[in-house]
Amino acid sequence: MSATNNLIRFEPATEAEAADTIREARATGRSFSIEGGGTRRGFGRPVTADAVLSTRHLSGITLYEPAELVVSARAGTPLSLIEETLAEKGQMLPFEPADYRALYGSHGEPSIGAVAACNISGPRRIQVGAARDHLIGVRLVNGRGEAVKSGGRVMKNVTGLDLVKLSCGAHGTLGLLTEVTFKLVPMAPAEASLVIEGLDDAGAVEAMSAALSSPFEVSGAAHLPAGLNGATATTLLRLERTPDSLDYRCGRLIELLGPYGTARRIEAQESRVLWRDIAQVAPLAKAQAPAIWRLSLPQRTAAQAMADISSNMGARYFFDWGGGLVWLAVMPADDAGASVVRHAVAQAGGYATLMRAPDDVRTRVDVFAPLGAPLMKITAGIKASFDPDGLLNPGRMYAGV
């Protein structure tokens, strides 16, 4: 998407090389577009930079202790390699990092560094938290060319300011991540989903709330409105347990959901495909819509916000996270419907991120929700504290930062 194809590329193989590259760039003012697997270039504002700084050769798992539920890897390590390695020991990244290749029509291998830098999570986020909740350590090179670490490899650590959280979701604007460490969980031996058909948005959010407010530890709650993925609306709830516990809890949840309709049970493989598609935004990814938004909403206002947006423009959307996340495809080409979307979402107490749109639209329209002046001042100050010359992914999140 961004015009990075003809730029000079730097591909350091060690953290020290990365630090040298950035230190040298400081002398000449060379700016960098940071790249991992290159599968999410369309996420964020287009970056105009002098060169590409790739983590491609910063690769490999550096620590994996299954008994300690922890993995560390260099930032360019393919996510698939990490997931396969963990699966061999029956473990996984808890937050179900989503693959956006279908969304962006991109190729290549998503890297673990991008999962951290972009705080990429999936449907299980509603139960266990996001990437930021499981990232426990980072090493990065800041815009001064200094190698900086924060956090570590232990589960509980409050030593010093939490620069781990600050780096997670900073989209490479604060530093080049060189190594990341995540907490892990055991994989559940079995999973199943319950499906209720025919609910409207408000009814579905209510049903999902009821399930998520049960003691049964629902690990996915999504709603596909009518006409999106078939003629009828489907509301999906996932459980991941041992087989005995799964049967028990599915039974209890079906009873609990009785007032909302008859829940049908879907087994392992079919359930996995459903949730993979939801994580990958498959119901909208192939849409010809010019713009796709990701809305983060309070559950109690989500259905109303979507009614407001739909009454103003053509919109196709689905809910994840029990209504807390909405993926929305809209038709307006010029501003991606930003004024309508942002107004409705602000009324609802949420935020909107423009996830997919042509470069020129993402240059004109704020990709991330605009911040008030005091928070923008802090954001700019933090950026300057890491990267005083604005060399790393300049303007990726906000113009001028």
């Binding site: 029956g90 924060s150 509980k156 409050v158 030593t159 998520l212 516990s245 107490g349 802090i378």
Partner: protein, 477 residues
């Protein structure tokens, strides 16, 4: 004792009357503590060996009053030390003579409970336990449960990113805060996050949590609450040695089982806690684990059977299940009052290093050797599942030589934790206690980056200035 405070700023001390009068114009008399006797109540926290009487104590009742106090202090260059309930074990709330204490105890209201969305909005001075108590009748709870939860405030939990016994499964404070109202040092009021799961821009919410009162003053928080499991059951496992207990913990996790809690006590801690709580702890074992499982009765039975099987492979000597709600309460009472119960028999300092769980046996052994080397007793009670250790070093606070030894032993133990691949503090914070050890865990570049971020929020270093960062070599934005 060897931890230094900055030399009080003579100029501020000389302006005390003027500062008290200035604050008096902003707050009614019942919200301002000025007499020496009353200020003395705020001279320390749970790290009682260090005491400094503040200039004055402001007890604002609203975000606006917090902002007014900060505006005054910002304009008049007065240091500010925030205080929740003063239960910090690392000295995070200890004032200094040239600072005012900003106490948040009057901000003690629960503002909103949203059951369908499973969130609550509370003021920062509400206690941790009162959040759970407000929703427990409906079957919900607030997950992070530090042992001091009866007294400690959510504001203090946010400052220290507090954990608790159940964070093995549920995580710590930072995983449960969705939004904050924050007053910056320049008196600007900002909202971070809200009821939605994500917030825009940099993760300032994540940065705030665990920042030890150095970036701003939190006045309100939106917290996530959870529906409680159908039931929970703690089980006591007694082992001959600490090593056997440690190996059992690793084997349980390795088998893919994550109990809600796995708490460790050594022989000394068992004796201290049993004498206090009469919880039925086994006294003839070398180490004990409290392992709690959750779910339906049948689910708990299945999971417990797997755990008991693993424990037998590690030579468990005693297995004792809770048979009633009363027994469960006593088992947890014993564990959660470990620090208080220890305080009945001796003065103590409580360490808080975290180590990789594979290093637990080694670190326990070395901890015993270190304390023996100083001629001191030590009791160990800690969160075994996540490697967060709490050696309690017993000493006599009235014996200066013993104080010195206890502090030295503590520092040796923390250095050991870092060398074993862990960190200085898992949930209590750096405060003053570990401030001078920060160079042991961090390089100058690491620390300078943290300090530059800190200075973005408070360029004059007015907020809790004696804490976290070594006094020498501080940097600006």
């Amino acid at each position: 004792m060897s931890i230094l405070f900055p030399i009080p700023d003579q100029d501020i001390l000389e302006r005390r009357d003027e500062i008290v009068a200035g604050l008096g114009a902003l707050l009614p008399p019942e919200c301002l503590v000025t007499t020496l006797d009353e200020r003395r109540a705020f001279e320390t926290d749970a790290l009682t060996a260090y005491r400094h009487i503040p200039l004055a104590v402001a007890l604002p009742r609203s975000t606006e009053e917090v902002a007014a106090v900060l505006r005054y202090c910002h304009e008049h260059n007065v240091f500010v030390v925030a205080r929740g309930a003063g239960t910090s074990l690392s000295g995070g709330a200890i004032p200094q003579e040239d600072a005012i204490v900003l106490g948040l105890s009057k901000l003690n209201k629960i503002l909103d409970i949203n059951f369908p969305g499973r969130t609550m909005r509370v003021q920062s001075g509400v206690t941790n336990l009162s959040i759970t108590e407000a929703v427990s009748a409906e079957g919900y709870f607030y997950a992070p449960d530090p042992s001091s939860q009866l007294a400690c405030t959510i504001g203090g939990n946010i400052a220290m990113n507090s954990g608790g016994a159940h964070c093995l499964k549920y995580g710590v404070t930072t995983n449960y805060i969705l939004g904050l109202r924050l007053v910056l040092m320049d008196c600007t009021v900002v909202e971070l996050g809200g009821e939605a799961l994500d917030s825009p821009g940099l993760d300032l919410l994540g940065l705030m949590i665990g920042s030890e009162g150095q970036l701003g003053i939190v006045t309100e928080a939106t917290v996530r609450i959870l529906r409680a499991a159908e039931a929970a059951r703690p089980v006591l496992f007694g082992f001959e040695t600490s090593e056997a207990a440690g190996a059992c913990v690793a084997a349980i996790v390795g088998a893919g089982i994550i109990p809600v809690a796995m708490e460790f006590m050594d022989k000394e801690a068992i004796a201290i806690c049993e004498a206090f709580a009469k919880a039925g702890y086994p006294l003839d074992v070398g180490a004990m684990l409290i392992i709690e499982v959750e779910g339906s009765v049948a689910e708990m039975d299945v999971q417990l059977k797997r755990i008991v099987d693993i424990a037998h492979q590690h030579g468990v000597q005693v297995v004792k299940e809770s048979r009633s709600a009363l027994e469960t309460a006593l088992i947890w009472k014993g564990r959660k009052s470990a620090f208080g119960a220890t305080g009945r028999i001796a003065d103590y300092i409580c360490m808080d290093g975290t180590v990789p769980t594979g290093q637990l046996s080694y670190v326990l052994k070395r901890t015993a050797e270190i304390c023996a080397g100083y001629g001191l007793r030590v009791a160990n009670v800690f969160h075994a599942g996540d490697g967060n250790m709490h050696p309690l070093i017993l000493y006599n606070v009235n014996d200066p030589a013993e104080c010195e030894k206890a502090e030295q032993a503590g520092m040796d133990i923390l250095r050991l934790c870092v060398e074993a691949g862990g960190c200085l503090t898992g949930e209590h914070g750096v405060g003053i206690e570990k401030r001078d050890l920060m160079h042991h865990q961090f390089t100058p570049d690491d620390l300078n980056q943290q300090m530059r971020v800190r200075a973005v929020f408070d360029p004059q270093w007015l907020l809790n200035p004696a804490k976290v960062f070594p006094l020498e070599g501080r940097v600006a934005a």
